[in-house]
Amino acid sequence: MTDAALTLLPEAERRARRRTRLSRASAILVCQIALLAVFLGLWEWATASDRAVAFLFGSPSAIWGFLVQMWRDGSLFRDTYVTGVETILGFVVGNVLGTVLGLSLWYSQFVARIVQPFIVALGSIPIIALAPIMIIWFGTGLISKVAMATLSVVVVALVTAYKGAMSVDPDNVNLFRTLGASKLQIFRRLVIPSALSDIFAGLRMTVGFALIGAIIGEFMSSSEGLGHAIFKAGSLYNIPKVFAALVATIALALFLTWLVGKLERLLTPWKNVG
């Protein structure tokens, strides 16, 4: 080896470094928990003294009470499950559709230029405006919510995938050409993997969009799901229950985001090194 730049540190040294990193991570976690505790404490204190305030803002203890009740009667799991399924299905369908279309636009600059204004136009539609149509077309069940989630996702996925495909280094395309690669080989071996980091950025962003789409769909017309629970509790001025369902929604969003991160680390192992 003439210019070896990659040698492993001694085992003890590596362990020590890992420990330092870990203790910093746990310090951050402790501060985060403390911040949350202070916030909840102040909330509880402010609502404990005044019933009107407690009615308007709910209190952490009342929210917790509703969470426990919803857990006991099974609605917590059921509503989260329903919204989760709607979100995941819309997320998958929208991303697959958008990514495939976005990547394939790399194939033809001509077609890409033709469809560009239409994509911009579709992207500028407020999704909520489509909800009544989706309910009319697909009914009040699962499909209309999946359609709403899909619509919230598809244009963003298309644009990020196309952007990723177009950001391929032209010198790299030239290298592939000198190696005698066909356009399909360039597409499969260069364009798709190059676009992966943009695609994953899109995935992380669209998890939230899919959830918003599903919940808007539930707001419009539904018989179950977190959006349904929030809407119903809100109409009955049951603020703590709205917050309880909101907590479940946040938990669902965090879980789905974590899942996407996991998937990304699994599919792009070269990013975890170094």
């Binding site: 210019d3 010198d171 000198t178 005698g180 993997p193």
Partner: protein, 261 residues
Amino acid sequence: MTGGAAAPPLRVVGVSKSYEVGDSLARVIRDLTLQLDSGEIVSIVGPSGCGKSTLLNVVSGLLPPTSGEVFWHGRKLAGVPANAGYMLQKDLLLPWRTALGNVVLGLEIKGADRTDAQDRAGAMLDRLGLHGFADAYPGTLSGGMRQRVALARTLVTDPEVLLLDEPFASLDFQSKLLIENDTAALVRGERRSVLLITHDVEEAVSMSDRVLVLSQRPTYVIRTYVIDLPGSRTDMMEARKSHGFQDYVRSIWNDLQAPKR
């Protein structure tokens, strides 16, 4: 014209290249002629921005010339030449592939047998001093090592002609000399031909059998030096110390500073 064994691997005859920039025409190459013989290392030096890289892209079939012709083994170039290896200053390694995966790329595209390709790629990495790094991702390698992986990727398809565009320009002096030595040894040992584009005059003189000096844009060959240095020509330090080396370097420098029109 038919390609016989005697035809030189690469001949460029009266090539011109211009680009349309808005309504005007930018002339980059003007009536340029050169020849690369079998087993020969030829360097091209020129003032910066003179169109050296455009020339390389024309020669490698990535850009069509405006006029003139490029012959590979006596045959007029159509598309991309089959037996050329191409390497730039940027290593262009794919970050999602390991070192071995990057080296194997060319063989994979050409449809070679998988295990055979991996064996050859592994052997090439070993020869370039990267034993044990086959499974490392490019992100973990130093600049010198990355460029060695790129060199391995270029050589593993067994090209007769290497087209190198400032391949070592971004490396520090020491890494550069070492990789130059290895390149010269691998090229001269197998009688491959090299067209080396560089702005480093010392690199050009120490590596090459001939050095072509290009003019400013629109560029053409203003002078050809036949480099006659003693020794095996695979040790760049030895070449730098040898008698006559400095004379070539000085003379080429003068040509570059006072370009004859």
